[in-house]
Structures are given as structure tokens and as C-alpha cells.
């Protein structure tokens, strides 16, 4: 399988955080969700891929080109960060005038079509846009220079469900062309459950899973039981065990749990629950 992004042994050390030699691939032609709790290193990784920050170690390849110091590769990438980076006193028309000269394949018609779809007027100033409108403006811009890869960092945070749904639909349409790829970081995992094909799961600066989303959701289950039954699980691999007054809940490997499914309540897991339980850590 071709990869749009290849990350190998990426390391970035901050005073209080270490992105710890992570490696993963983003397959071409699909939507890959980048999940993990706040502070797990998602934004640091994305900033490294976009050359916003310098890495301490590791190799990054984007669209088959190793990052070598030149930022020319970003011509083929559409970027949506969690905050728009435009001058707040610019009008929407100024935004287009400002960025258009830098893109080799700028398509003004597409840009205006998106503005119309998002109901963003050309004459509005950036500071007059709501958060959702600001993100949509970035999305319109990112999609209007014929990118091969879209990289989005928490674009749906703070947006209402309708706006999130709309963004997810656009991303799904985008990968309808199988040469196009989306790499989408979020902690609103319900968005990814709808649209992601692959998942890269980061916890405390380490990749704990990379692969197909369906495999991830099929491989793990949520186990619930009474406090007295916990000893029965002493030889099993449990993740994020949480005890409460009447019992416990934890995540376990589905393959291990089938043999005890008559004793415990075994439920399918969601991405959100996986993040919570993995964040708590493994028990054994």
C-alpha cells in the first residue's frame, strides 16, 4: 500500500513532554484518524510533519518526498489547524488575495463555491467570523489549491454537530478520489467513527496502535463485572481498570474475553472509551 506520510523514529523533547521515537504510516487514498487525549503529542507530530517545529531525531516522508529543509512540498497539502492564522482585520476577499500567489494550482472558482456553500460573505472580516466559520474558511482555502493530502488538527473542536457533520462529509467527498488522503487529528472520536478508515493512536508520546479502525474496534471489548469477580481476571491482559462501589470496568482483548463472556458483561468498545481506558494505562 502506498503511503502519503511516513514517520520513522520521530523524537521531540520538551521540558515536560517527550514525543518518543514514534513511527507510523498514513495510507494514501484513505482517511486516517489521529487520536489520543490532550497532551499526547498529536499537535507536536502534525507540526513536525508541517515543518512548523524542528525535530530532534527521525525521518518524515510526505507524498514520497523526504523533508529536507525546503517547504515546497506544502504546495500539495491542505492544512486546517484549530485556529485560523489570518490577519483578523483582513476581509475574506483579502485572505484569497494574500494566499493565491503562493499556490501553483489555486482555483478561485472552487474557493468561491465553498464560501457560498458555507455562507461566508467575501466582505466579512476574519474577526467577524464565528469559530465554526473561521474553520470553514480555512477548509475552503485548503481545498482550493488541489491538494493531494489534507492535514487537519482538531478542526471540529468546539463546533456544533451540524458543522462537524458538514466537515466530515466534505472530507469523505475529498477521498472519493483515491489519490487524495486525509490525516485528521481529533479527540472528538465520534467524527472518526463515521469516516476514518485507519487510526493512529497516541498516548503519552507513544504510538499504541496503528492500523484499520475496524480492527481496533473489533480487537478490544469493554468488560464489566462485580468487584468479587475481578480475581477471575488475574491472568488476563486488562487496560485501564476502573473500580467503583459496585464493580469494575476495563478494556480487554476480545480474543481473550470470549472464554469468559458468560461470567462478565462484554460490550463493544468505542474509540472514545478506548482513549479513556488506554490513557489510564495497562494493569497487567
Amino acid at each position: 500500500m502506498d503511503n502519503a506520510v511516513v514517520v520513522r523514529d520521530l523524537r521531540k523533547q520538551y521540558q515536560t513532554f517527550l514525543l518518543d521515537d514514534i513511527s507510523f504510516d498514513v495510507p494514501k487514498g484513505y482517511i486516517t484518524g489521529f487520536i489520543g487525549p490532550n497532551g499526547s503529542g498529536k499537535t507536536t507530530t502534525i507540526k513536525s510533519i508541517l515543518s512548523y517545529i524542528r525535530t530532534d531525531k527521525g525521518d518524515i516522508e510526505v507524498l514520497s518526498e523526504p523533508l529536507s529543509g525546503s517547504n515546497a512540498y506544502l504546495d500539495k497539502i491542505g492544512v486546517v489547524m484549530d485556529t485560523p492564522f489570518f490577519v483578523k482585520d483582513w476581509k475574506v476577499s483579502d485572505v484569497e488575495k494574500s494566499v493565491r500567489p503562493f499556490y501553483s494550482q489555486w482555483d478561485s472558482t472552487t474557493f468561491h463555491d465553498y464560501l457560498k456553500r458555507f455562507k461566508i460573505k467575501d466582505s466579512l472580516k476574519v474577526k467577524e467570523l464565528s469559530r465554526g466559520m473561521g474553520i470553514k474558511l480555512m477548509l475552503a482555502l485548503a481545498l482550493s489549491h488541489n491538494p493531494e493530502l489534507m492535514i487537519l488538527d482538531e478542526p471540529t473542536s468546539g463546533l456544533d454537530p451540524v458543522a462537524r457533520e458538514e466537515i466530515c462529509e466534505i472530507l469523505q467527498d475529498f477521498v472519493g478520489d483515491d489519490t487524495k488522503t486525509v490525516f485528521f487529528s481529533t479527540h472528538i472520536t465520534s467524527d472518526l467513527e463515521q469516516i476514518a478508515d485507519f487510526i493512529v493512536f497516541l498516548i503519552n508520546g507513544k504510538v499504541v496502535y496503528q492500523g484499520e479502525k475496524d480492527d481496533l474496534l473489533e480487537n478490544y471489548v469493554l468488560i464489566k463485572g462485580g468487584t468479587g469477580d475481578l480475581d477471575l481476571l488475574s491472568s488476563y491482559h486488562l487496560i485501564g481498570l476502573k473500580k467503583h462501589s459496585t464493580g469494575f470496568e476495563a478494556v480487554g482483548l476480545k480474543s481473550e474475553m470470549t472464554e469468559i463472556s458468560d461470567v462478565f458483561l462484554i460490550e463493544p468498545i468505542t474509540l472514545e472509551k478506548l482513549i479513556i481506558f488506554f490513557h489510564r494505562g495497562e494493569v497487567r
Binding site: 507540526k47 508541517l50 515543518s51 512548523y52 517545529i53 524542528r54 529543509g69 525546503s70 517547504n71 515546497a72 512540498y73 506544502l74 504546495d75 497539502i77 492544512v79 489547524m81 485556529t83 492564522f85 489570518f86 490577519v87 483578523k88 482585520d89 483582513w90 483579502d94 488575495k97 494574500s98 494566499v99 500567489p101 503562493f102 499556490y103
Partner: protein
């Protein structure tokens, strides 16, 4: 080169919302007051370039306020291109400032009936340009290294340094070897061509150093 020129345009777009008629009126008012008070149109000229020096910090200030540095990278601009473009933009602003200062001074000379000696004015304009661009040359690397908020106190250092030099010179009084300085000045006056060449060489060296430091420091910034 196309990207550098597009970046110069982007810098202009960045500060355009702040190039207001109100600011132009303030410049004109201050220039008029200075011209009337000093009965000369030379001071307004330097005042316009001082305003330009303030404007040159605007892309850093506005950029930082709006988190615009990541935009430059997102647009595929290399950091060297950003630095080169910013220096070129500063040069363009200075040239525009000089043209505006000549227009204002010429207008004031007509309105206030103050004579202008054009040969003298040209020399003064060159001196003002060299002096203020040197100050800007000291400020730009600091802005590139620290960003506007952290750099703004340091960015006034060139002005403070000039003030300190003036105060020291005044206080040294008789200890200044006036004769020797006079001899140097007389020699400079006798050789205007050499003076201009030496001045330009010093300016070019300082600007080259400023540019190299800006590139080196901006390359290390993270956004």
C-alpha cells in the same frame, strides 16, 4: 524570486488595514508643526522615516497577534524566503517613505515659503535613509529571533544607544578631541565620493550582518 515578491506583497497586505488616512493626517500634522517650529523642511523628512521604522515592526506585531508565521510555512515559503522578503519589504517601505517625505517637504516649502536646496536635501535624505535603515537593521534580527512581544523592549535599544552616545558626547565636553574630529570631517568634506563609498560600505556590511543573523535566528524559531 517570484515567491519573495509575493511575500513582499503579503507583508503589505498584512499592514494595509493599519495604513489609515488617520495615520497619514497625524504624520502631516506633526510634519507641519516641526516645519513651522524649525523653519526647515529637513526635520519632517526624518520624522517620516521614523514613522516608517515604526511601521516596519508591524508585520511582526500583527503577525504574532494573529499567529501568522505558520501561515508562511503552510504557503510553502522557506524561512530564508520570509527573511529576504521582509528585508526587501523594509527597503520598499523606506523608499516609499523617502518619496512621501520629499512630497510633504516640497508641499510644506511651498505653503510655508521655506526654501529647499535640492543638492543638500538629497544628501540629507541619503544620510537619513542610511541612519534609519541601520537602526532597522539592528531591530530586525531581534524581531526574527524573539518575536514581537519579547523583542519590543530590545528593539528600542538602537534608539537608546544613540541617545547614550549623544549624552556621553555632550558630557565629555572638552575632553573630546575636537581638532582631530574636525580634521576628519574636513577630509571627508574634501572627498565626498570617498565619504559616500565608505559610508555605503559600512552600511552594506552592517545590513549583511543583520540579514545573516535574521536568517540564522529565524531558522531556529518554532511555531
Amino acid at each position: 524570486m517570484k515567491k519573495i515578491l509575493s511575500f513582499v506583497k503579503l507583508d503589505f497586505m498584512t499592514i494595509r488595514p493599519y495604513l489609515t488616512i488617520k495615520n497619514l493626517i497625524v504624520i502631516l500634522a506633526v510634519a507641519t508643526v516641526l516645519a513651522v517650529a524649525g523653519k526647515s523642511v529637513i526635520t519632517p523628512m526624518s520624522m517620516v522615516i521614523a514613522f516608517v521604522t515604526i511601521y516596519i515592526s508591524y508585520p511582526f506585531a500583527v503577525g504574532e497577534q494573529n499567529g501568522i508565521d505558520p501561515l508562511y510555512i503552510t504557503l510553502g515559503l522557506d524561512r530564508d524566503t520570509v527573511v529576504t522578503g521582509r528585508y526587501l519589504w523594509a527597503l520598499a517601505m523606506n523608499i516609499a517613505g523617502l518619496i512621501l517625505s520629499v512630497v510633504i517637504s516640497f508641499g510644506l516649502s511651498l505653503v510655508l515659503d521655506i526654501p529647499i536646496v535640492w543638492s543638500e536635501t538629497a544628501l540629507i535624505m541619503l544620510t537619513i535613509f542610511l541612519l534609519f535603515s541601520l537602526i532597522q537593521g539592528m531591530q530586525l534580527p531581534i524581531y526574527f529571533k524573539l518575536g514581537y512581544t519579547r523583542a519590543k523592549s530590545f528593539a528600542y535599544l538602537p534608539f537608546i544607544m544613540i541617545s547614550i552616545i549623544v549624552i556621553v558626547v555632550i558630557n565629555l565636553g572638552k575632553r573630546i578631541p575636537v581638532d582631530k574630529i574636525n580634521r576628519v570631517l574636513v577630509n571627508l568634506e574634501r572627498n565626498p565620493g570617498l565619504t559616500i563609498i565608505v559610508g555605503l560600505l559600512i552600511w552594506a556590511g552592517a545590513m549583511a550582518l543583520s540579514y545573516i543573523l535574521s536568517k540564522r535566528w529565524y531558522a531556529k524559531r518554532e511555531f
